[in-house]
């Protein structure tokens, strides 16, 4: 097996390239349409983010992973393009609303004070507050588009016609020489994104996306899908003569409990490994430690790792290492570790060192690590919640986390159980988020550390 993979990697089969271009275009179109939809909804919700109901809506939108959204929406909109666009757009709307609301809050109030009161709130918003956040919004949109391309590719694993679908099917048929080409194409798309993504071309991209998505042939859904969906998410004991006790014990004792346990185990081990990986990897991109060429090399490796979605990475490692939690843990650890390392490396770049500061690993141990320790722990704690969400998803690869049970129930068309398990996963995310925020406050770290915005600026 490993030999077959190695020989496939060594001799890529480029004859499949023309056939893959359509999947590439679709990957982009889903990402573009999804992110645009999310940004549009987010922009409209952001001014109202102070209202508890809007905040709750946004929290629940973004607590459900794109893949889970897609699994649920498949029952409603089938394999139509709408499923892909909404799966990206809905959770992203929740994220955008939060981030845009933060940007609006941080705007300089002096223009509003300099003009007399009585201007309508909408005028104040569009003339004074929004223009001030345009630069931040732009760079954040760029960052989110990159995430969107990753999400879009991963949606292929559950049947949407994007690059992930091609990757999965070439691996399943042991066409490793083709799988390599799919991966290469994905990197060719995402690595130079900042060069091909021009703001002036946005209208063109919009039109292209709509045209491409409209041409997808959709298998018929059958009538009454919406009504069936609403009927199916009502708990079974309320619409059939099933017993509440057996329904509850089936979901919460037989499925949620082991699922939550596995999710926690996986995410904790992954977080620990990610922390070690990040601490060791970030000096590799600091020229004073690794040398100029070493830093460039380190940068290249980290970019590759963090550009590959965790799920895709786990899928590939799983083919190689065989079914166990190890591939998923490794994938989560290196992907998230690479992101933390990249951000730390940037912070290290900003530190003004004295002329006679040491070099190499001495610098790392004596200057960089001690100074960046606060930021380091804060970043790792931020990733905790994300690692947990992704661990739940890993179940869809056949591992025992929450995603496994969610997917199983989707296949058995037991949507009422899916909804319950999704609520469990939202609660779990919420607990970890609260714990992480509490820890950060107790340790007094990460004040003024702008993860989302900062990442967007790159």
């Amino acid at each position: 097996m490993m030999q077959a993979m190695a020989s496939g990697i060594m001799s890529p089969d480029f004859s499949v390239l023309p056939g893959l271009l359509y999947a590439t275009a679709l990957t982009l179109a889903f990402a573009f349409a999804g992110v645009s939809l999310g940004a549009l909804i987010g922009l409209f919700l952001a001014p109202f983010y102070r209202l508890a109901i809007i905040r709750a809506l946004c929290v629940s939108l973004r607590a459900v992973h794109e893949l889970f959204w897609a699994l649920v929406l498949l029952n409603l909109t089938g394999l139509s393009p709408l499923t892909g666009v909404l799966s990206i757009g809905l959770p992203y709307a929740g994220i955008f609303a939060k981030v845009f609301a933060e940007y609006l809050e941080e705007t300089d109030p002096s223009p509003i004070r300099a003009l007399p009161q009585g201007l309508s709130p909408v005028t104040q918003l569009i003339w004074m507050r929004l223009p001030q956040c345009v630069p931040q919004i732009r760079s954040y949109l760029l960052y989110r588009l990159e995430c969107g391309i990753r999400s879009s590719a991963v949606l292929g694993f559950i049947g949407l016609p994007t690059l992930g679908f091609q990757l999965e099917s070439s691996f399943k048929q042991a066409h490793y020489d083709q799988a390599v080409v799919v991966l290469a194409l994905f990197f060719a798309l995402i690595l130079p994104m900042r060069y091909w993504m021009r703001w002036r071309l946005v209208p063109l991209f919009w039109i292209a996306s709509v045209v491409i998505l409209a041409q997808i042939t959709v298998p018929p859904m059958g009538g009454g899908a919406v009504w069936r969906f609403i009927h199916d998410i009502v708990p079974a004991p309320m619409r059939t003569d099933a017993q509440w006790s057996s329904w509850l014990s089936k979901i919460f004792i037989e499925q949620a409990a082991p699922g939550v346990w596995s999710t926690i185990i996986m995410s904790q081990v992954a977080l620990a490994v990610a922390t070690v990986f990040a601490a060791l990897a970030f000096p590799m991109i600091v020229p004073r430690v690794a040398g100029r060429i070493g830093a460039l090399l380190g940068h290249g490796v980290l970019v590759m790792i963090r550009s590959t979605p965790e799920y895709m990475l786990a899928f590939i490692l799983l083919q190689w290492l065989g079914p166990s939690m190890l591939p998923a843990i490794l994938a989560l650890a290196v992907h998230n570790g690479a992101i933390v390392a990249h951000l730390l490396g940037r912070h290290a770049h900003d530190i003004r060192l004295r002329h006679d500061a040491p070099r190499g690993l001495t610098l790392w141990g004596w200057e960089l690590m001690p100074r960046l320790a606060g930021n380091f722990w804060a970043l790792c704690l931020y990733r905790w919640e994300i690692i947990l969400r992704e661990s739940a998803i890993m179940g869809m690869l056949g591992l025992g986390t929450l995603g496994f049970y969610i997917q199983k129930n989707v296949q058995e068309l037991r949507l009422d159980r899916v909804v319950m398990l999704l609520i469990v996963s939202i609660l779990l995310t919420w607990v970890v988020d609260t714990l992480s925020r509490g820890l950060r406050q107790k340790m007094r770290i990460g004040d003024g550390l702008k993860i989302e915005g900062g990442r967007g600026k790159r």
Binding site: S110, P111, I112, R113, A114, L115, P116, Q117, G118, L119, S120, V122, T123, I126, W127, M128, P131, Q132, V134, P135
Partner: protein
């Protein structure tokens, strides 16, 4: 502004710190008042306290920190003085699609403060003195009975400063200024 405005036995400050106490001051329509003092003497605080005494749509304010929106153009920042005369839809339209005559109206005021040909430049790319003049152009465009200006010419050279102070006096019936230069006063 028709009736005089009076502050009597007023304490001014931020939070618990008192900046000025026991102020008795009356301002009548048509008066030109200048507050002089070193920086930190409490001029801005005094000026701030007056802003609340007038009806919003009769005054113009030139704030010390200019209160401009950096990513918008000089035209937009000048036109901002007009926003409360129009509805929200109109304001949105001007933001995205200013008409030629609207541009020209604002440019007249920009010209009068000595800023010609920069109306399409973003304010964040202008120099400190140019920003201050945009803030003045906005106040001039806004007009009204009273102008409250906090160090409105601090970043300009003396002769330019004198001219612009004169322009403020012709445009506004009542002027309340905070300055630190006695000769300008």
């Amino acid at each position: 502004m028709r009736a005089p405005v009076t502050l009597r036995q007023t304490q001014l400050g931020w939070g618990d710190t008192h900046v000025l106490s026991n102020i008795n001051l009356t301002i009548s329509p048509g008066e030109r008042i200048v507050f002089l003092g070193r920086s930190g003497a409490g001029k801005s605080t005094l000026l701030q306290s007056f802003i609340g005494c007038f009806t919003p749509n009769t005054i113009s304010v030139v704030a010390q920190d200019h209160g401009l929106v950096g990513p918008l153009s000089a035209f937009h920042n000048t036109w901002m003085g007009q926003l409360d005369r129009h509805g929200t839809c109109h304001n949105l339209r001007v933001l995205l699609w200013p008409l030629r005559r609207e541009r020209e109206r604002a440019e007249n005021y920009l010209n009068s403060v000595g800023l010609t040909g920069i109306s399409k430049k973003k304010v964040q790319d202008l120099s400190g003195g140019q920003k201050q003049r945009v803030a003045l152009a906005r106040a001039l465009m806004r007009g009204g009975d009273v102008v409250l200006a906090d160090e409105p010419v601090s970043a300009l050279d003396p002769s330019q400063g004198r001219n612009l102070l004169a322009a403020l006096q012709t445009r506004f019936h009542t002027c309340i200024l905070a300055l630190h230069d006695v000769s300008q006063a």
